[in-house]
């Protein structure tokens, strides 16, 4: 099983992408399956085993939440930008991580970067701190809580770490 699907999520992604690209037809299905299985096997040596996220539902919820946040924060950052620079209070915060594992951390940092107004600048050496740059930093703690509750904890659940 794991030799056939070294990366199940990838296989899924590849399958869907192929179908999206070529439309839904018998020949395409066959090819999609072929690639979904073939490519991961081909690149397996280059991709170490990924931690399995075994709550698909939570994943979807997380994703939707992310989308909503993006839209929301987009608008207020937009307003922020239209005001004068003087009112702006940019700053850096050091976010102490509980989350571990490369993939989860990557997802977290990408999430942070994707939502306008915050930007994951760098990790500390042992990945215990994530330095986050904030466009408008009036309430540091609020932002930290926000990140922790909305993203980090859910990710912890998803990846069981």
């Amino acid at each position: 099983m794991s030799r056939l699907f070294p990366m199940p999520y990838h296989s899924l992604m590849l399958f869907t992408v192929w179908i999206l690209l070529n439309g839904f037809a018998a020949g395409n299905l066959l090819l999609a399956v072929f690639f979904a299985i073939g490519i991961p096997v081909l690149v397996a040596p280059l991709c170490p085993k990924e931690p399995v996220a075994n709550q698909p539902l939570k994943v979807i919820i997380y994703f939707l939440r992310l989308l909503v946040d993006i839209v929301k924060s987009n608008f207020d950052v937009a307003l922020r930008i239209l005001q004068s620079n003087r009112t702006l209070k940019p700053g850096m915060i050091a976010y102490h991580l509980e989350l571990q594992g490369d993939l989860p951390l990557t997802i977290l940092s990408s999430t942070i970067s994707l939502t306008p107004g915050t930007l994951s600048a760098d990790f500390s050496k042992n990945k215990s701190i994530l330095y986050v740059h904030v466009l408008h930093l009036d309430d540091e703690q609020a932002i930290i809580d926000n990140i922790k509750n909305r993203y980090e904890l859910p990710l912890k659940e998803i990846f069981k770490c």
Binding site: L20, V71, I81, N85, G91, S109, L119, A121
Partner: protein, 116 residues
């Protein structure tokens, strides 16, 4: 109907893309400017893409393949931003004088494991 949605989406997209680039010109220091493009890449391009989907729906065959672009962007854009921030910290790009937690920039550069 679909046309109207499409048009609205296009306008939103346009505005946000413009905002992104505008902020990149306007904002005071590199780190703040770095926030700009995220808008372009997320909501801006996002709504344009959805507009495209809606449009394709409006003349019959709905094709979702534009979503793939969105997927790609969502995967890659943060990395670019992250790398840029990292690089900026490394080459000690000056942040604005009155930035909050000024010293943290230095720590971030050295990737300190605990904050003093």
């Amino acid at each position: 109907m679909l046309e109207i949605i499409c048009s609205i989406l296009l306008i939103i997209g346009g505005i946000f893309i413009l905002l992104g680039s505008y902020s990149m010109v306007k904002l005071p220091d590199f780190y703040t400017r770095l926030h700009g493009p995220t808008k372009a890449s997320t909501l801006g391009v996002g709504s344009v893409i959805i507009a495209a989907i809606v449009f394709s729906a409006s003349n019959g065959g709905v094709s979702l393949k534009e979503l793939i672009i969105l997927l790609f962007l969502f995967i890659t854009a943060p990395v670019a931003a992250h790398m840029l921030a990292k690089a900026a910290l490394h080459i000690q790009v000056k942040q604005r004088k009155d930035s909050v937690n000024d010293k943290l920039f230095e720590q971030a550069k050295q990737q300190k494991d605990r904050q003093e």
